[in-house]
């Protein structure tokens, strides 16, 4: 081995380590935010949360004065990402685009290693979409009443495809079955997309849908699909003929939400700064255009109202799970 080659090798190693060190700068007492804001996503790439976080990040610099960097930390049903967030420095530079599955469902079912309402700050809700149950229009039943009657006559014959076990769709199914006194087959898929397509292909009888994703509105207007119920308090303006679950006699009110949380203990002024900046993001033209492309619209909620909302959601999910005998395994 020649001497010169060794010197090259040493030089490379040295310069790489210098580069790495250069990125670690001291957090001086500067005005928040003094470095890029990391926004974690504990779900897969290309999913709704990832895309939403990226949409917000694309305009964040204009309103926060620092870039927002999306970082995916999926795995173990959110346990890994939520664990990283819990341990992160509570200065507002590490946040998460959180999902109800991780704050409000999973802790009822599995030991996740965090307390959803003690370990995190609830900062800002970006979007919210009401969950619906869809079916092909060609089915013999044309509304929830007929569907219920058919299901009662044929217990366990009809199927429902969900986005996955203990997802919002699964919980909706559990609640529909309990309150309507019917029995359906639950077919969990890996994500809402495959379930939706399996429904369109006629492989399953009913499936979850969101008002604006997957071309639902267009398919509904063309008479390709029917919607049996929607999980909102009032009827949706885009689907004025679709009854709410409460009208159908099912007490289910939950939605698919994307909201930002952070580790417990972020200084209040930093939270206020973020809320102000996020609010401006939801009014940004580019952001709104990106959301529209995904079929979402901004639905800002923050402060104590957000935490209370998620808490109520968690309690409702817990009740549903308990009523069907699903409790936490230790």
């Amino acid at each position: 081995m020649s001497e010169i080659r060794w010197r090259y090798a040493c030089a490379i190693v040295l310069s790489v380590s210098l580069l790495l060190m250069g990125t670690i700068t001291a957090d001086a007492a500067k005005k928040f935010p003094w470095k890029p804001i990391r926004i974690l996503v504990a779900l897969g790439a290309g999913g709704g949360h990832d895309l939403n976080a990226r949409a917000a990040a694309s305009v964040a610099y204009d309103y926060l004065g620092q870039p927002m960097i999306v970082q995916l930390v999926p795995g173990a049903g959110g346990k890994i990402g939520m664990g990283i967030l819990k341990k992160a420095k509570a200065d507002g530079h590490t946040l998460m685009m959180a999902s109800s599955s991780h704050t409000s469902v999973a802790p009822h079912v599995r030991n996740m290693g965090y307390e959803p309402f003690n370990d995190f700050e609830y900062i800002f809700q970006f979007t919210k979409a009401d969950y619906m149950m869809a079916a092909m229009a060609s089915q013999p039943w044309k509304n929830f009443k007929q569907f219920k009657a058919f299901a009662k006559k044929n217990p366990g014959k009809l199927s429902f495809g969900s986005s996955g076990i203990y997802g919002v769709g699964h919980l909706m199914l559990l609640k529909v079955m309990a309150d309507a006194g019917i029995k359906l087959k639950h077919i969990p898929f890996k994500g809402g997309g495959p379930a939706y397509r399996s429904g369109l292909g006629g492989h399953i009888d009913t499936f979850g849908a969101l008002p604006a994703t997957g071309g639902t509105l267009g398919r509904y207007r063309r008479g390709q699909i029917q919607i049996l119920g929607i999980a909102s308090k009032k009827r949706n303006k885009m689907f004025p003929k679709v009854p709410t679950w409460r009208e159908n006699g099912v007490d289910f009110l939950l939605a698919s939400k994307r909201f930002v949380i952070g580790p417990k203990g972020i200084p209040q002024e930093n939270i206020d700064f973020l809320v102000k900046g996020f609010n401006k993001i939801t009014k940004d033209k580019t952001y709104k255009k990106l959301l529209k492309k995904m079929g979402d619209k901004p639905s800002p909620l923050f402060g104590p109202a957000l935490k209370a909302d998620i808490r109520a959601e968690s309690a409702a999910y817990g009740k549903i799970l308990k009523s069907v005998g699903i409790t936490k395994k230790k």
């Binding site: 080659r5 790439a45 970082q71 795995g75 077919i187 292909g201």
Partner: protein, 496 residues
């Protein structure tokens, strides 16, 4: 559909996307030109870095590596008689004699032109094959998918290598690794032994980095001596002449023939560039007017080998993208990259991600002239790295392996997993177990299991649905035929 294609083209035609392809191709040729670094290894190591890019940049970047490495492998094959990547072995036969005659430069040019043309041909074949399959997307429910995946598992029978029992054991290990994690239907933990990292299953990236890169490093280190201590005289481009138009014209038919052979062989799951190259070379020799020149410095020979192996680049993706069945190591890695970017290979890929996929295809085609340009301008650089020392390379590769498996999920557990997989891969390779069956089984198992269970839930446990539904029956019959054929006539050549 036309508007989706146009949207795809408009996504593709940005300087960022095109420069990512160029970077990928540059990295690919570089890796290919360095003996000991293979395209599979480079793709495995660089997959995690593609996650930081939009799908329309990250995927073309990786495809660029795949393309570039197939051409790059011919450079050391011609200059120093050492194939840079396994498929370039046939290029040595005629490339090195040409270099000895002082015609290294024109030989590399011939390799560049035939690689580019072969690659373009197979990219077009991929695009033509993929679009009609998209029309069938909605016909695939759980039952049909299971039928398809059963056929996918039988593909393993053709990549078992020389020893069938070893291939089967390797596939079974892959099956077992694929079963780790949360049960798809009940959410119960399986084989996690209490490790949080394992709850989400064994990650594709750490597994691949371990199996293909870390184990390779261990094998290289074990050799101790680097291949070359002194630059051979042939590793020199100076004074060489350029390829003449006449020489190129004489090889036109050979290039086309090899492109067709490479595309067909590449599209069959379980076969790879190495097989395509030897078939293409053999066919060229039989058809040639001057077969006696083959092996003694025939430009036709170089063209035949290079066109065939580069034609695999696009064709490899036909079963991978349209059916979700990876045909071999590199295809499996690329499929993992698609999945990680939220693009689920299979019949519904185009239904779900039309514009993105058309953008990727556009970039795949744009990559060919870029490769030609880089080959023209940078050949002296690529020729100079052919004799780079392993002692400099290996530490860099290890750095990439560790960083890559960490940034996959920003989880140190994945680095541990990659190191364990590396040791595991080393043992398997030392004992001559093929890795391809393991990886293919690992990727197919979770999908097959989920489809199977979904189909069972839907049919109330009636197994006959797989035989009463026409699409699933079709695939199961096909699977049976493949199985019978592979038992009846065990192929002698193994896929890489």
């Amino acid at each position: 559909m036309i508007d989706q294609i146009l949207e795809g083209i408009s996504i593709a035609l940005t300087w960022q996307a095109i420069s990512m392809v160029a970077v990928g191709i540059f990295a690919g040729i570089t890796v290919g030109a360095i003996p000991g670094l293979s395209g599979v290894m480079a793709t495995a190591v660089l997959v995690p870095f593609s996650f930081f890019m939009a799908p329309t940049m990250g995927i073309p970047f990786l495809l660029g590596i795949h393309k570039g490495s197939l051409f790059g492998g011919s450079i050391p094959a011609i200059l120093i008689n050492t194939p840079g990547t396994p498929p370039a072995a046939a290029t040595c036969l005629d490339g090195y004699p040409l270099a000895q005659k002082g015609e290294a430069k024109s030989a590399i040019q011939m390799s560049l032109y035939s690689s580019t043309l072969g690659d373009t041909f197979s990219d077009l074949a991929l695009i033509l094959a993929a679009i009609p399959i998209a029309a069938l997307a909605l016909k695939f429910g759980p039952t049909e998918f299971f039928g398809l995946l059963v056929m996918g598992l039988t593909v393993i029978s053709s990549v078992t290598g020389t020893s069938v029992p070893k291939g089967v054991i390797s596939a079974l290990l892959g099956l077992l690794i694929g079963a780790v994690g949360l049960d798809a239907i009940t959410g119960a933990e399986r084989f996690t032994f209490g490790f949080d990292t394992l709850q989400g299953g064994i990650g594709l990236v750490p597994l691949l980095i371990g199996l293909f890169a870390i184990s390779e490093v261990m094998i290289q280190v074990e050799k101790k001596i680097s291949i070359l201590s002194q630059k051979p005289a042939t590793a020199n481009l100076k004074g060489g002449r350029s390829l003449t138009m006449g020489e190129f014209k004489k090889s036109r038919r050979t290039i086309l023939r090899s492109a067709i052979i490479g595309t067909i062989v590449g599209a069959i799951p379980g076969t790879g560039a190495s097989i395509a190259t030897f078939i293409g070379y053999g066919a060229a020799k039989r058809a040639s007017k001057n077969p006696e020149e083959f092996g003694h410095g025939s430009y036709e020979g170089v063209a035949a080998a290079e066109s065939a192996n580069s034609a695999v680049a696009g064709a490899d993706l036909i079963p991978t993208l349209t059916l979700g069945i990876p045909g071999g190591g590199t295809a499996a890695i690329l499929m993992g990259a698609f999945i990680a970017q939220g693009l689920r290979p299979g019949p519904s890929l185009f239904e779900e991600n039309g514009p993105t996929m058309y953008a990727i295809f556009t970039l795949l085609l744009i990559g060919n002239p870029i490769m030609l340009l880089q080959g023209w301008l940078l050949t002296p650089f690529f020729a100079s790295i052919v004799t780079i020392r392993q002692a400099l390379l290996i530490p860099c590769i290890i750095l990439f392996c560790v960083v890559g498996s960490y940034i996959f999920h920003n989880n140190l557990g994945d680095v541990e997993l990659a190191l364990v997989s590396g040791a595991f891969g080393y043992v398997l390779r030392k004992l001559n177990f093929p890795l391809a069956p393991l990886v293919i089984a690992y990727i197919i198992t979770p999908m097959a299991e989920r489809s199977f269970k979904q189909a069972m839930l839907l049919s109330d446990g009636d197994y006959s649905v797989f035989f009463t539904k026409p699409i699933s029956l079709f695939f199961i019959i096909l699977a049976a035929i493949i199985l019978v054929l592979s038992v009846w006539k065990q192929p002698k050549v193994s896929a890489e």
